[in-house]
């Protein structure tokens, strides 16, 4: 190279040569630039296009309208109410968030808690993000706010949806309630049906109890989405498209709201429960548990005081006693003992057994409720008078094995499968359970106690209602409370015969009729006097305390004289009308065994109203049924 330089050459020639070299270099650089451009725009163009779209497009999930819950006549039991809200957009305020909140507080009530929350939200969000300052405003407040809007820059009135339960406590246990999504809801949704985007919608509420929970997936519908274009700072420029989502489906219940209200009204001051069902279809017309709670409060959010009131009350308002309360069925269980014995052939309806007021077995005495006894009893009189001694002797003849088998056939000891979560199965004891649990064989005395529905036996009010329905219809009916989802009718198999002989069933029904229609029957004073609608039924008393020998000697204390928690539970099962049964009913009032027999009165009024509404001929309002009729 240096040899080139030594040779004196014209500067022009050198310049030209070097310029050419440099041109080559520049061309190479342009080649590199073009290659890079090709790589970015052609080879990876799609990749970068996607990333540009990701940059600019934000997907915002939208909650669809939650489906309503309707009663059998189409009355909305759970619906969506307009939620009047106030939003605040910090960047549009004049004089800042604090000044605007001060001005707002002169128009609508803004307490310290709301104020603190708004200030905190304002501090943590970008200034164009709307904050919810207050929710669930009254119409008056909202109207006033709209009037003053010109003087409140940055304030936006807004109307959203919120769940509304117009019948509050009456249906709280059937419907359940909705509440914000908890972390565990999301994980369980992932476990079962894959991730539901709806759960990601801010402020969305899902069903937490009752029908709201069981049919939550159908009721909640599918999340919609709004795709918006945002700029680099996250401000929404415009909406690109919107998909409203799939609206939730309505749930049509078999409940008759008026019947439900009547029963709730009668029982609301007690800790009680009641079920009314159709003896053939199993449709539940009323399912009451008192006291109830206000499901609307759960939607808005409970205060600690409200929560304490609900959880600490000895009446236990949060428990759905109709399904989750398990009680000794007491004398109502004598219907089971009677059917089992007739079926086993150990007695006939005419078998006479003597009641002296006490039955002795080994060293134990088993007392009848009537001191001195009832004398000679056949089946009809045994049921009518609810004679304990008669059923001790029947049970002794029958044995526990026949008794527990019949009890299971009648629906006891197992969950009914009603579509509401939290149902308990009750309990029917047997030899194997006794041996396994207590390492002792079954004692004959325990059979006697079981024969009158005491001891280990437990049943829920709904199970007792099923028991009454099965006796009335002779069919293996099961309760159901949901008739259809949207326009889809939920079909179910027709019930099979229960398998007891018609004669046996007739004999037991005869006894139940006598108990409520003949003078001296345990339910006679509170009978339905209209013969067309008369009911047949069986009272029951479940003992909560042990009656000592001493007390029995000096006379058993009346329930009225005892503290509330020591009084016996009052039970009643019934069906009506007697000749062609339509409705079955069960009532349990905790610690409610008083002479006035309020449980029988409630059942009477419930069955009466159910039949009256039937006779009024109100057509069922299920949309599917009317559609079927049109076809």
């Amino acid at each position: 190279m240096s040899s080139l330089d030594k040779k004196p050459k014209s500067r022009h020639a050198t310049f030209s040569r070097r310029t050419l070299l440099l041109s080559g270099g520049m061309t190479a650089v342009f080649g590199v630039l073009s290659g890079r451009l090709y790589q970015l725009q052609i080879e990876n163009g799609d990749l970068y296009l996607n990333r540009a779209e990701d940059n600019r497009i934000n997907q915002r999930l939208l909650a669809p309208r939650r489906g309503r819950i309707l009663d059998r006549f189409g009355v909305a039991l759970a619906s969506n109410r307009r939620n009047y809200r106030v939003l605040l957009v910090p960047e549009r305020t004049r004089g800042g968030v604090v000044a605007t909140l001060d001005a707002l507080a002169k128009v609508i009530p803004i307490n310290e808690r709301l104020r603190a929350k708004a200030l905190k939200d304002a501090a943590t969000n970008k200034s164009f993000v709307p904050l919810v300052v207050a929710e669930n405003l009254s119409w008056d407040d909202f109207a006033r706010l709209n009037l003053d809007l010109p003087y409140l820059p940055g304030i936006q009135p807004d109307v959203g949806d919120t769940r509304d339960y117009p019948y509050t406590e009456e249906l709280s246990h059937v419907l359940g309630y909705v509440a914000p999504v908890a972390v565990e809801d999301k994980s369980s949704a992932q476990d079962s049906a894959g991730e539901d985007q709806l759960l990601e919608v801010p402020g969305v509420r899902i069903g937490k109890r009752g029908i709201e929970k069981t049919y939550d997936i159908a009721i909640r519908g599918g999340a919609g989405a709004s795709r918006v274009e945002v700029n680099a700072y996250g401000r929404v420029i415009r909406e690109l498209d919107r998909n409203g989502g799939k609206p939730g489906r309505d749930v049509h219940l078999t409940i008759d709201r008026e019947l439900q209200s009547l029963i709730y009204e009668r029982l609301k001051d007690d800790s009680a429960s009641c079920a009314v069902m159709d003896v053939e279809s199993g449709d539940v017309l009323a399912l009451v548990s008192t006291p109830g709670f206000d499901p609307n409060a759960f939607n808005v959010g409970l205060s600690p005081d409200q929560w304490n009131d609900l959880t600490l009350s000895d009446h236990k308002p949060l428990i759905n006693k109709a399904l989750s309360g398990a009680y000794p069925p007491g004398s109502t269980f004598k219907t089971v003992t009677a059917l089992a014995a007739l079926d086993a052939g150990v007695i006939t309806p005419d078998t006479i057994l003597h009641c002296s007021g006490v039955v002795s077995l080994g060293s134990h005495d088993f007392h009848c409720w009537k001191t001195g006894g009832h004398g000679a009893m056949n089946l009809r009189l045994g049921i009518k008078n609810s004679c304990d001694c008669y059923f001790y002797q029947v049970a002794m003849k029958l044995g526990i094995d026949g008794l527990q088998a019949a009890a299971r056939r009648l629906g006891l000891g197992q969950a009914t499968g009603i579509e509401i979560p939290g149902e308990r199965s009750g309990f029917i004891p047997d030899r194997y359970w006794k041996q396994a649990t207590f390492k002792e064989p079954w004692q004959p005395g325990e059979t006697l106690v079981a024969g009158i529905g005491q001891g280990y036996i437990l049943a829920t009010p709904l199970q007792l209602c099923v028991l009454a329905a099965r006796i009335a219809s002779g069919m293996q009916v099961n309760p159901r409370i949901v008739h259809s989802l949207g326009t889809q009718k939920l079909e179910r198999a027709a019930p099979e015969a229960i398998g007891f002989s018609p004669e046996a069933l007739a004999a037991v029904r005869e006894g139940l009729k006598a108990a409520t229609t003949e003078p001296g029957g345990t339910g006679y004073p509170w009978r339905i006097t209209d013969g067309q609608m008369a009911m047949a039924g069986k009272t029951g008393t479940a003992q909560v305390r042990v009656i000592t020998k001493e007390e029995r000697l000096h006379g058993v204390r009346s329930n009225e004289s005892l503290p509330w928690t020591l009084r016996d539970h009052a039970l009643f099962i019934a069906y009506a009308p007697i000749d062609k049964p339509r409705y079955a009913c069960s009532v349990i009032i905790e610690h409610g065994a008083v002479n006035a027999h309020p449980q029988v009165q409630v059942a009477r009024d419930a069955l009466l109203l159910a039949q009256q509404r039937d006779i009024l001929g109100r057509p069922s309002a299920y949309p599917v049924d009317s559609a079927d009729a049109a076809l």
Partner: protein, 384 residues
């Protein structure tokens, strides 16, 4: 030799004729590129002439008059002004440096009445002028002699270091590389070239250690690992690449670039103007712009090759090479091939001083062309 040719050789040509000698095809080419710039600035403002496009148009108009004016001034006048211009620019650079030390932080501007002057931009022209003049005076091969070479090296190094201290790595690089290439064109021996390359290889690590500011180091590191800080310093590169890449073959269409319209693209009206073109006009549009640039450079080379004076040749190539380096550094930067150094895209990016410098440079290039027949003796010091 007729009279006209004689006068031409003496540079004594009437003004009207000089205007006729201007290479109007090159001027139109330059105006075309500037128009592309107006369109992009219009788009960057969301389809509005304000705030950028209208002011850029006004500046270009002034710049165009400067171009024509500079082109009509005799080359020997520019030669005579070369050293004073260099000295003046150096003075301003030092003044800015002192003002910067006294004032607050980085200082690149000097206020001259209503004018804001960026001495580093001025120096780009002044250095090319001064180097061309100095190298013009050297005999063939003389440039490689150490005592001859030391002068231009100092002429390059002093302003480059001053600008680096501002700190403005991009312009410093431009000055150093532009100057070095002029030495190369003037016939610097390969021995020196090889030595310099070797020296740079040694110097870069120590420069990293002692010369670069933290934010400059950060830029380099971010460049090497853009994903390490995708929302912070890597944001610029990442978003520029997304904008370019998402344009695809034909782009999203004029005014349809989401990256620029929604402000994902930072400094979109200045350094990051090329990604807007890439996004809205795609590979096709960007390559078209590159071709226009290449054509301008091609013209520059032609003018340099046909000039009869060494001063004219070096001046023409100096201007052309500077123009090329602007484009190269800016394009490499926005495509993520070199760190972000803050060099605008000439004729396109919004900015007054850069526009004036570039147009002044093209004026000198035109002047070389207009006065291409002039021969200047090696020992001449120009003519006022």
């Amino acid at each position: 030799m007729n009279v006209r040719a004689y006068y031409a050789a003496q540079g004594m040509v009437p003004l009207g004729q000089k205007l006729g000698e201007i290479k109007w095809s090159l001027a139109i080419l330059i105006a075309l590129i500037a128009c592309a710039g107006f369109a992009v600035l219009y788009s960057a403002a969301g389809g509005s002439l304000s705030p950028w496009a209208e002011r850029q148009m006004f500046r270009f108009m002034i710049g165009f008059f400067i171009l024509v004016g500079v082109a009509c001034v005799d080359l020997r006048v520019w030669m005579a002004l070369a050293y004073p211009a260099y000295g003046f620019s150096l003075l301003l650079l030092v003044a800015v440096e002192i003002a910067g030390r006294v004032g607050l932080g980085a200082q690149r501007w000097i206020e001259l009445g209503p004018l804001q002057l960026q001495p580093s931009e001025l120096m780009k022209i002044a250095l090319v002028l001064a180097l061309s003049r100095y190298l013009h005076g050297l005999a063939p091969g003389e440039v490689s002699r150490p005592f001859r070479l030391i002068v231009p090296l100092i002429m390059i190094a002093v302003p480059a270091v001053l600008v680096l201290m501002q700190p403005n790595l991009g312009t410093a690089t431009l000055l150093a590389v532009g100057g070095a290439l002029l030495l190369f064109l003037a016939g610097l021996s390969w021995y020196w070239i090889a030595s310099t390359v070797a020296a740079i290889a040694v110097a870069v690590p120590s420069a990293w250690e002692f010369l670069l500011h933290d934010y400059q180091k950060q830029r380099v590191l971010t460049f090497l690992h853009p994903d390490s800080d995708a929302l912070g310093a890597g944001w610029n590169i990442t978003q520029a690449k997304i904008a370019l890449g998402s344009g695809g073959l034909f782009g999203k269409g004029f005014l349809m670039g989401t990256q620029s319209r929604l402000n994902f693209l930072p400094e979109k009206e200045t350094d990051f103007v090329l990604p807007i073109i890439g996004e809205e006009f795609g590979f096709f549009g960007t390559m078209l712009l590159f071709l226009l640039f290449a054509a301008v450079i091609w013209y520059g080379i032609q003018i340099a090759m046909t000039a009869r004076s060494q001063f004219g040749r070096l001046l023409a190539m100096g201007v052309t090479v500077n123009f090329f380096l602007y484009i190269m550094i800016n394009a490499l930067m926005v495509m993520g091939l070199i760190p972000v150094v803050g060099i605008p895209m000439p004729l396109i990016s919004y900015g007054g001083t850069a526009m004036m410098t570039v147009m002044f440079g093209f004026g000198l290039l035109m002047s070389v062309h207009v006065h291409r027949h002039i021969t200047v003796p090696r020992h001449s010091s120009g003519m006022i």
